[in-house]
């Protein structure tokens, strides 16, 4: 904004400047431009929306919601405001309200991949896997390389696990090829590496992500979990780490049967000692990961 402080600025140029700053994620400057704009045009819904967006981007969700309600009171059909409102409901775990908004938006914009991706992700967060998959597929039908839809499709492939390996890596490869710069592409990569048992590589990707986004609680938790899996003291628990509950069941039953078999072969004192070792191992497997999680 280049006008002198006393004269009324041109609304179009204020909006242009604010949009440009928001796009470049220069939120502090955007906030100041929006505030100055609102002092001259207090009823402008686009400026109010941009102010709400900056609040949302800076994690001031309550303020963002207040502003967005004002925008929607003035202009109930404002596309950006409705999307932002849905995201705010999502963040506040008001999932049914968020869903209602996504459905309304999709009824009006049935080819909008952003809405499909956001709604699909909401369905994933609420364990509606089948619907999430169909939404992501529908989104990809309209925009085959859409980042959000590809991310959801990749995550669903990883969750299902049982699908063909080719299909699983296809979505991931497309995501990494088309959107290598996106943080979510790296998250998907780290998750995929972890699922394949490449915990070391997954940890390296996750640590890099945490370095770039140290405030992300989810990423920090994910990296900590990977660090735990890579810790030397977890090596004895390899069967559980690699094969999950199948490994745990095998170790439990294997131990019971091995001790029974040893009874007829080894001296009683040795069997008793082996029994204690096995019991200690079982206790270790249940308690140590929880303790280590607190220590790391």
């Amino acid at each position: 904004m280049n006008e002198s402080s006393g004269s009324k600025p041109d609304l179009a140029s204020v909006l242009h400047e604010a949009h440009a700053l928001v796009e470049r994620r220069r939120y502090a400057q955007a906030r100041s431009v929006v505030a100055r704009g609102l002092s001259h045009f207090p009823d402008d819904s686009e400026l109010q929306y941009l102010g709400a967006f900056v609040d949302y981007a800076e994690d001031r969700h309550a303020q963002a919601m207040q502003s967005i309600r004002r925008v929607l009171a003035q202009n109930p059909q404002h596309y950006g405001a409705r999307m932002l409102c849905a995201h705010l409901h999502d963040e506040a775990q008001e999932f049914p309200q968020a869903e209602q908004l996504w459905i309304e938006l999709l009824r009006e914009y049935p080819e909008d991949p952003d809405c499909y991706a956001a709604y699909a992700e909401l369905m994933l967060k609420t364990l509606n896997l089948d619907k999430a998959e169909r939404l992501a597929r529908e989104g990809l039908r309209h925009a085959p390389e859409h980042h959000g839809c590809l991310f959801v499709a990749t995550m669903i492939d990883l969750i299902r696990g049982g699908g063909s390996r080719q299909r699983r890596s296809e979505n991931l490869e497309r995501l990494l090829r088309e959107h290598p710069e996106h943080v979510r592409s790296s998250i998907a990569l780290a998750v995929a590496l972890n699922e394949r048992g490449e915990h070391g590589n997954a940890l390296r990707v996750a640590q890099e992500l945490v370095r770039n986004q140290p405030d992300s609680e989810h990423l920090v938790t994910f990296a900590r979990e990977l660090k735990l899996r890579n810790h030397w003291s977890m090596l004895p628990l390899y069967p559980m780490l690699r094969w999950g509950w199948g490994g745990a069941a095998f170790v439990t039953l294997g131990g019971i049967f091995a001790l029974r078999a040893a009874r007829g072969v080894l001296p009683e004192s040795v069997v008793v000692m082996l029994g204690f070792v096995w019991l200690a191992y079982v206790i270790y497997s249940w308690t140590w990961p929880a303790i280590l999680r607190k220590l790391l």
């Binding site: 775990q93 999932f95 049914p96 459905i103 509606n128 896997l129 619907k131 509950w245 069941a249 439990t252």
Partner: protein, 152 residues
């Protein structure tokens, strides 16, 4: 849009919190100590939370069939004697553990993707202490009841 049913709401408007299910630890413990019926209790509670009881109800039938079949064999066909002779005095208890773990395996086949979904999205499971203990106690009592009914 061709797929109009995609635009039907899937979430209850009176539910504000995330949908999550009891953890694998709760299910494993309930099945291990409470037998197949204990494992089925947690599995069906999870199915109820996932609103898929209409699909998952056979899990209860499977648990009942495994329990009744094994107890029939133990009580009516000399299975208890065989277990004691081959696995020692605690053989019947070991059999309950094996049945429980088998049931957990079946449950995991049905609900594994939801557990993975929760794990990947960092969704926290509800506390499983109360339902877990209730499932263990209920499963054990039910097994004792069935064994008494089958006793000659």
């Amino acid at each position: 849009m061709a797929e109009n049913e995609l635009l039907q709401p899937s979430l209850d408007s009176d539910k504000g919190a995330a949908t999550s299910i009891y953890s694998t630890t709760t299910g494993y413990m309930a099945a291990f100590f409470g037998g197949p019926l204990g494992g089925a209790v947690i599995a069906l509670l999870n199915s109820h939370r996932l609103r898929r009881l209409a699909v998952d109800w056979p899990l209860g039938v499977v648990a009942l069939a495994i329990t009744t079949g094994t107890l029939w064999w133990e009580v009516r066909s000399g299975g208890t004697r065989w277990l004691v002779e081959n696995l020692g005095p605690s053989g019947p208890r070991v059999a309950v553990r094996i049945m429980g773990l088998a049931m957990f395996g079946i449950v995991y086949l049905a609900h594994g993707k939801y557990y993975r979904n929760m794990s990947l999205f960092g969704l926290k499971p509800p506390s499983g202490w109360v339902p877990g203990i209730a499932a263990i106690v209920g499963g054990t009592l039910a097994m004792m009841g069935i064994a008494m009914l089958l006793a000659p």
